[in-house]
Amino acid sequence: MTTTAPAASAETAEQILEVNNIEVIYDHVILVLKGVSLSVPRGGITALLGANGAGKTTTLKAISNLLHAERGEVTKGSILFGGDEVQNLSPNDLVRRGCIQVMEGRHCFGHLSVEDNLLTGAFTRRDGQAAIREDLDLVYTYFPRLKERRNSQAGYTSGGEQQMTAIGRALMSRPKMILLDEPSMGLAPQLVEEIFEIVKQLNEEQGVSFLLAEQNTNVALRYAKYGYILESGRVVLDGEAKALRENEDVKEFYLGVGGEGRRSFRNVKHYKRRKRWLS
């Protein structure tokens, strides 16, 4: 529908990340992404929305070149980060260039302490111990809970604590762009707001760009500037976040507000309301 053709080269400078019409196949047979295109402007926050299994995680992994480890591969299209073909870069090259991913499902290093987890985030940095210490303190001010648990093995910390560790770890690499995969999952409401505030702050103060894959459409569209909606491997709708928020279909299916305000979960009717853009 709104899949844009590869952007003109003049625009490239504006876009820190460009995904052009990619296809991803798992295990040689399972076609998961069927031509996804999107772009993230330098200094922008872009949300990637969609139901379970739509392919958000896959898209993010394709961008940070992590598919390989899951027997998946990009078979068509191209991904440009800062103007360079991602396929030619190894994941650590990407991190060094400032693109880091916070993986879905936390993925902390279970046997390392929380602090060591954070420090691994600084692996690619070359700017000395002092700067790293400074950033560590910054992460601790963002997440005081982590400071309390700094010496515990990450594997034993609670789900939310692990999520904070994972986000903090990514921040430690001083990235230019962060790919956030479901950051709010399993976090207390208060913390969800805090994390998005941090995102906003980093974006505004340090110009970090974000691509967020989120289920919590409500919050995501509040903070993002632009949004894409994925459905079974295709982009079905994209636009300014504000416009999306106003869109009737988005309201109905993703925000849960019908004509008469928020619906109660208790009153969900026993009929299928599934209407799809595609199917």
């Binding site: 379970n52 789900g159 604590e161 399993g186 207390a188 289920q215 459409t217 208790r266 969900v268 599934r274």
Partner: protein, 274 residues
């Protein structure tokens, strides 16, 4: 708003506890790991037939509480009375035998098995035929298998996951995995169902589906439910009573509306009033 059906109209399983009686009573439980105090002197009860929510900030000890209830952790202090029987420690599989089933915060499905097998695994405790019959796959073994298969198919229909019956669950999207996990827990036909963040990582539509399943299970089967959830909307809409934990301590307990406006809860957890 639909009025809640009168609890007394539903037939309760015959364990002698009437609907509204105390099914589970946790008394003065404390649990710590080395230096970390996960739970400090908490008492709470769950009434038969209700939906009980446990909420609290991250690391408050909610999951640990469930772990204590189903025997995975043994508390250092305190006792648990379930269906009138008191105990401190027991093996998790014994808890299952007593009628406690649960789902997990990080999906704990059997990744290599199909949806059907996962749910069938939930019925393992109820299947009895020995290896001799199994080997032959005839007579009693086959009859038993089919009998349970029918029960499982009911659950599959109920959760609307027919189309993924044969898919290995490792390949399913997260939301469906959670649903399969619920199915597996239901297959155990529990008296008390413990749900640990059943709706984390779901979009609205899926949360609505999940809510409906939970309500249906509660109302149609009369299953008592204790649930942990971070989505306040869900908690407020579904639960009959809410207990709030913070740093391993209980800071509030009561009906949703009351808890929602409790200042301690707002400070520790909600941030802004909902």
């Amino acid at each position: 708003m639909n009025p809640r059906p009168d609890p007394n109209q539903l037939t309760a399983p015959d364990d002698g506890i009437a609907r509204g009686g105390v099914l589970l009573d946790v008394k003065n439980v404390s649990l710590s790991f080395g230096g970390v105090k996960a739970i400090t002197d908490i008492s709470l009860n769950v009434l038969k037939g209700e939906i009980r929510a446990i909420i609290g900030p991250n690391g408050a000890g909610k999951t640990s509480m469930l772990n204590v209830i189903n025997g995975f952790y043994t508390p250092q202090e305190g006792t648990i009375i379930f269906r009138g029987k008191e105990r401190r420690s027991m093996k998790p599989h014994q808890a299952v035998g007593q009628g406690i089933a649960r789902t997990f915060q990080n999906v704990a499905l059997f990744k290599g098995m199909s949806t059907l097998d996962n749910i069938m695994a939930g019925r393992s405790v109820r299947m009895k035929r020995n290896i001799g019959w199994q080997m032959l796959w005839r007579g009693p073994a086959l009859r038993e298998e089919i009998e349970h298969r029918e029960k499982v198919e009911e659950i599959i229909d109920f959760l609307e996951i027919q189309y993924i019956r044969r898919t290995p669950v490792g390949k399913l999207p997260y939301g469906l995995q959670k649903r399969v996990e619920l199915g597996r827990a239901l297959a155990m036909e529990p008296t008390l169902l413990l749900l640990d963040e059943p709706m984390a990582g779901m979009n609205l539509e899926e949360k609505e589906d999940m809510s409906r399943f939970i309500i249906d299970v509660n109302q149609q089967r009369g299953t008592t439910i204790a649930l942990i959830e971070h989505d306040m909307g869900v908690v407020m809409d579904l639960s009959d009573r809410v207990v709030v934990l913070d740093y391993g301590k209980k800071i509030a307990d009561g009906p949703p509306d009351e808890v929602k406006n409790n200042q301690n809860v707002i400070d520790a957890y909600l941030g802004v009033p909902h």
